[in-house]
Amino acid sequence: MAGRMTTPELPNGVAAALRRVVGAAGVLSTPIARRAYECDALTSWRTTPLAVVLPTTTEEVAAVVAVLAAAGIPFVPRGAGTGLSGGALPSTDGVVIGLQRMRAILSVDLANERVVVQPGVTNLQVGAAVAGAGYRYAPDPSSQRVCTIGGNVAENSGGAHCLKLGFTVHHVTGCTLVRSDGSVLQLGGSALDPCGYDALGVVVGSEGTLGIVTEVVLRVVPRPPAVETLVAAFPSPAAAGSAVAAIIAAGVTPVALEMMDRTAIEAVESAVHPGYPAGEAVLLAEVEGSRVRCADELERVRSACRAAGASACRVAADDHERQRLWSGRRAAFAAMGRISRHYYVQDGVIPRTRLAEVLDAIRALAAEHRLRVANVFHAGDGNLHPLVLYDDRVRGERDRAGALATRILDACLAVGGSLTGEHGIGRDKLCQMPKLFGPADQQAMHRLRTAFDPRGLANPGKVLPTPRLCGESPGIYRPHPVERAGLAARW
């Protein structure tokens, strides 16, 4: 029986050395404790690590990594475990370095518009630390209540408001990186334009494969003086897609431009009652800036929606209504539980001009696979999140769902899109990388990895495919404990 199988153990000498660094309480080695780290929010991939180590400072991380490097043991950095691509999936011969105890906000320096944090600080805590002074931290992944800055840096996380404000890479001005030999490297800082190569630009988004980020310098920005939020309903997803294309083509860049189709609307209406106007699709658009700019851009958005056939167009009267409109969007993934037992969340990107046709293609593919797909996504930047709904108890549905999710991604690639817009390659899409990047491209990426980590100890088996690992199907969603507890939603 699997339960009686002996799991591999960390060599005694290594365990003792790790305890000397982080204390006995900082090393989890019992099978039960280790199993709690066997997956991230992509629960279909599970591997029990040799041990879990919980350091609290850069020095401890460096010492832990040095111990592991001396023993040739690979490691996987992990934040809150909300990642959706298996980026924090352990390896059987490796150790998880959990950064959740590194949750100090080290400095709030509004004169320089910078906040310095340890990687275990959550995304929302950064915003909360500066909100009182009228500032905000722009990237806002939907799991922002629990997801950590370390994870955001690893994944180059986005969020609804990244359309105008940029992704994590545009809001990180410096970091401290512990390399896989235990050496410590400072990249950038509070000031811009550091000398030398822009290594920070590739470390952000490298999914923990170039080392462990142990301190991060973040840019915070003043809140806008005025915000307007508009909700519009459309007779079809394709019509809403045309409205998005028209808004972008008209030269307006809303701060957020989000879309939901009827299946998604039904789920959120029953869960949080955001009160969207009736239609086959709704679009949420937000503009911000001076009052006169808001009014101007709002009018352009509204006329683009009307021209695309919007059946209803409503502007939030106040903050309360704005929050209600957003509550539906934020709750969308969690609300799927009301209409489906299981779902797999896909993360593909397409050119914004191809929205209508790809949404039609997704509908046709869903029908072909006899499954429902709910669409909730960042329409403004063409980042689709089709949710493939299925019931694991029905024989064959899980496999059909996996096949459908892959076909949807292929449809994105066919129009010149990308494998992932914000969830990362991780383990989940490892073997699909060749669909986007040829051998020479992968080889060029591999050179970066070996420059940083010649022995391949940092998060092995992620991002770049290997012959040993590939040949399996993409993962299928099962709810993560964090999500079941209502602490996180998928975005």
């Binding site: 050496s183 509070s190 190569y197 988004g205 001076s290 006169v292 990426m445 991002v463």
Partner: protein, 410 residues
């Protein structure tokens, strides 16, 4: 040295018309190459680079040659490899605000193609000095930015994907042509500012922005260093969406720009003028001011250094520049800028020491080689080690622009 056999090989790989003997005008910071090669296509460029790599010829890539005086002189230089023949705009989808260009394309050539695309006008919003003459690949390799970075950022904000040739002739790609993408390592970002030392950029996918219908300029006169920090903070908190904010020093002129529909631009400009105590500059004056910003600190003799400090230290930086009788354009909202000083060790070292004390760094742009050590901040030993490792990973034989990064790197 390239002998007759080598020259024949170059002609065979790039085409006879693509190879010429170099002259003094082709000197790269004092090093005159043997040949200048302008391959007609990416394949030929890759073949030339691979051949050079096999034969240990040092290769310095060149776009339009507008920034060849930036950086340290190459330790060796046998071939100048030009990208100027790679001048096709490969794609432009107006509705997506994305264009794909070959590296030898210049901004005006891209603009022409963008205009032909129809629809509301759009543009690559980077406005570094000499943007009209530079190739886009060269500007990216130099990470050149202009005043518009206040709102639109730098190359890191607009580069969506890149195709490049490694020293051994490998042609590879990273990123993509969509505006949001986290698939694989974004190697294009690593090449920004790498000054031709890691790879030769041959293709860029860039994000475009709508060209605003109207622009308005506000100028604040008589600004003193002591005013700068509060002025800067006020700007960032202003309701107006400031797209550029440059301080001309020693004139003490703060030049600000807002954009939008005519109504929005004029309303925000009026607000900004009231908040800052400035005045609206009529179009001819505005053009003059922005032209002065773009020439500063470039025009004139002396050494040019790129500076960056934390935002709250801009006043201290301006004081230091004033004390050194330097001329500068400082980006008030970002703490970055360019300074021109007398090309002598003492003032350059003093500026660098001050900037480093303020928590920032200096990068030598146009600085005589013997003064680079005085002028330029030295990366930490850990950062230099990584730089050397990156060099070894991408260009183990130091074929591409050897020594160009400075600090004794290969």
């Amino acid at each position: 040295m390239i002998g007759p056999d080598g020259a024949r090989a170059l002609r065979r790989l790039a085409g006879a018309g693509a190879v010429r003997a170099a002259g003094p005008a082709d000197s790269v910071a004092g090093r005159v190459p043997a040949y200048v090669v302008r391959p007609p296509a990416v394949d030929a460029l890759a073949a030339v680079l691979a051949a050079a790599n096999d034969r240990d010829w040092a290769v310095v890539p060149r776009g339009a040659g507008t920034r060849m005086d930036w950086g340290a002189p190459p330790a060796r230089c046998d071939v100048v490899l030009e990208t100027r023949a790679l001048r096709r705009v490969l794609a432009h989808v107006p509705g997506d605000h994305v264009a794909v260009v070959e590296a030898g394309v210049r901004a005006p050539e891209l603009d022409e193609r963008l205009r032909a695309g129809g629809g509301p006008p759009q543009r690559l919003m980077l406005d570094p000095r000499g943007a009209q003459r530079s190739t886009l690949g060269g500007a990216a390799a130099a990470a050149a930015a202009g005043p518009g970075r206040h709102r639109y950022g730098t190359w890191r904000d607009v580069l969506l994907g890149a195709r490049f040739v490694l020293a051994d002739g490998t042609v590879a790609r990273a990123g993509g042509t969509v505006v949001k993408n986290v698939a694989g390592y974004d190697l294009g970002r690593l090449l920004l500012g790498s000054r031709g030392t890691l790879a030769v950029l041959v293709e860029l996918a860039v994000k475009l922005h709508p060209l605003p219908e109207a622009r308005a300029t506000v100028v604040v006169e008589g600004v003193e260093p002591g005013d700068l920090v509060s002025l800067g903070a006020g700007l960032r908190r202003s309701a107006a969406d400031v797209t550029a904010a440059e301080l001309l020093w020693p004139e003490g002129q703060l030049v600000l720009r807002v954009e939008g529909s005519p109504a929005v631009a004029s309303a925000e400009a009026a607000d900004l003028a009231r908040e800052t105590g400035g005045r609206l500059a009529p179009p001819p004056v505005a053009d003059q001011l922005w032209s002065r910003v773009s020439r500063r600190p470039w025009d004139g003799p002396g050494a040019i250094v790129q500076v960056a400090v934390p935002l709250a230290e801009v006043g201290q930086l301006a004081r230091a520049v004033a004390g050194l009788r330097g001329r500068a354009a400082l980006g008030l909202g970002l703490g970055t800028g360019g300074v021109r000083l007398e090309a002598a060790a003492e003032p350059l070292a003093e500026l660098r020491t001050t900037v480093e004390r303020l928590g920032g760094s200096c990068r030598a742009l146009r600085v005589p080689p013997e003064l680079a050590v005085a002028a330029e901040s030295r990366p930490s030993p850990a950062a230099l080690r990584l730089a050397a490792e990156l060099r070894a990973a991408y260009d183990p034989r130091s074929t591409l622009s050897p020594g160009r990064l400075g600090w004794g790197l290969p």
